[in-house]
Symmetry: C2
Subunit: 321 residues, 2 copies
């Protein structure tokens, strides 16, 4: 599959075979969310003066999600959003994405709704599907490579001593939903929605990049783990006040600090960031939750509550279970 | 994983966890074949005046290969080369690639040799690994997104009436190797080598693009199937003379015409292409095997032998088995 160069909205005629039938069906479902699938590769232009930003992310059945917990559309939507979130974390605007679906036989009847969820995510962040690949598989694998551009990509390695630490949104929902689902219970609707339909903070990430962020990362492993990644890459220490965490209704700070797959943005900035303007613009909370110090000793992330240090277990590591 | 921007050869410090340990090990193995893995996304520059070319390709155990047929290094090498071949087919030069490995438990001990094969492919075509993702899985999935650039990417849709049809290399090896392996026999060494260590014709593809190709495709499904893709995309008919097919020693033309995973290049050009210069430059055969006509009736590809039309079954379609 690929984006056709000269006639962006037309799809190249495809050859015969059931793989091509499926590509035709996907292209039809995606409509304007896809561009000219059909050649060996897609062709893109990076806007002048901007750098190309590339990230790739895979979601595997029974590793990243369980089918019984989500609709097929939700699985497509959240898998795509998880990948797109890496563009948000760099402050980049989407240019396009490739989609690889590895499909078990029992998923063949559900490819339509799965693709519809991917298409909805693509439309929500204006990131066209420009290519991909299809294969059979024993479990469903959805792999996305997202391409974006930015005049000044924000790295996770730029946090500086004296910076303030900020986070977008309200935390705890996906963690609460996962605990409920794992225990065979129905999670609270708000929490379930945050788990099933996460949103890549693309426009917010660009705004943050333009408002002086020194370092940024998206919350995929959980606040504490992702703060550690940022602190390690930046060679600094992050102190986070658990009492200041913005919590989704019904969630506790200790749980929210470990809740993964939030896809909210964690960033540091030297200057004060106008949280009110941010919230007026995006209808999303922006909260100062801590500060950056020089690294002293081995603790890259220090958590405090009521002025005292507290310890928590870390986030999710799917190789160590 | 990602390419770090300001210090291209240094790897960003990574956080804790076994996934990061594995990324560190991969980065060490790849050495200069990788660039600054560690951030949310990689940053790349497209050379001025060139277009970005993107393709994605997945290789799945038991679908695209069987483990007992190949060494772990060969599986990594050929999976990467299969993806890189799509850049060759557009006449593009590689900029970088992302690597997604979904690993079953029984592959964990063999990640090293697998990664070494990928690194060897990356070095052979000068395409650094710039990012990726790791997951657990029930079967091995190797997914590559390759990025390249070209001033004038060659599409499969540009074949014109009156063009001559050319193919690089000698055909039939991978098909012969697969028939042997499927029957439990040792394939001939030449055929096995073509199957186990295919080469993406990157430099050759650029040369062909600069020497007037109107349309180009790489032979992944087999000559007849890929010629049909090109004919369908171009709205023309391709006539191919089986008697002129360049054959690997010991291979028959009818088998070679259906042999998939060759990763040789099929292209059409209006002017005569200097096959001698091509062969002197690359040490690889270049053969005129047919011509392009207006589409008449439904036959997009016509095969001839001794001046008569012949029929063959088509190539491999892993959804229709």
């Amino acid at each position: 599959m690929r984006r056709q160069h000269h006639t962006p909205q037309r799809h190249t005629a495809l050859g015969s075979g059931s793989e091509f039938d499926m590509i035709r069906d996907l292209a039809r479902r995606w409509g304007r969310a896809a561009r000219g699938l059909g050649d060996d590769a897609a062709i893109l232009e990076t806007p002048p003066g901007q750098q190309l930003v590339v990230s790739t992310d895979t979601s595997v059945e029974e590793v990243h999600f369980r089918r019984r917990w989500l609709t097929s559309g939700e699985i497509g939507y959240r898998s795509a959003m998880a990948a797109l979130s890496d563009l948000a974390a760099m402050g980049a605007r989407p240019l396009g994405m490739t989609v690889v679906l590895a499909l078990p036989l029992e998923w063949m009847q559900d490819v339509g709704p799965l693709a519809d969820g991917i298409g909805e995510a693509a439309r929500d962040v204006a990131c066209p599907v420009i290519g991909g690949d299809l294969s059979r598989s024993e479990k469903l694998h959805c792999t996305f490579t997202v391409l974006g551009s930015s005049a000044r990509p924000v790295l996770r390695s730029g946090a500086k001593e004296g910076d303030t630490v900020y986070v977008t949104g309200h935390l705890g929902g996906p963690g609460a939903a996962l605990r409920g689902l794992s225990a065979g219970k129905d999670p609270a609707p708000l929490a379930r929605d945050r788990f099933a339909r996460p949103v890549a903070r693309i426009r917010e990430g660009s705004w943050i990049a333009e408002h002086g962020a020194n370092a940024m990362i998206d919350l995929s492993d959980g606040l504490v783990s992702d703060a550690e990644h940022m602190a390690a890459a930046s060679g600094v220490r992050l102190t986070i006040d658990l009492d200041r965490l913005p919590l989704l209704q019904g969630c506790a700070a200790r749980d929210a600090a470990r809740s993964g797959e939030e896809y909210e943005l964690l960033f540091t900035a030297a200057a004060d960031v106008d949280a009110n303007e941010f919230t007026r613009t995006f209808g999303l909370a922006l909260t100062a939750i801590g500060h950056v110090d020089a690294l002293v000793g081995e603790d890259r992330v220090v958590l405090t509550s009521h002025g005292k240090r507290v310890d928590l277990e870390k986030g999710y590591d799917h190789f160590s279970r």
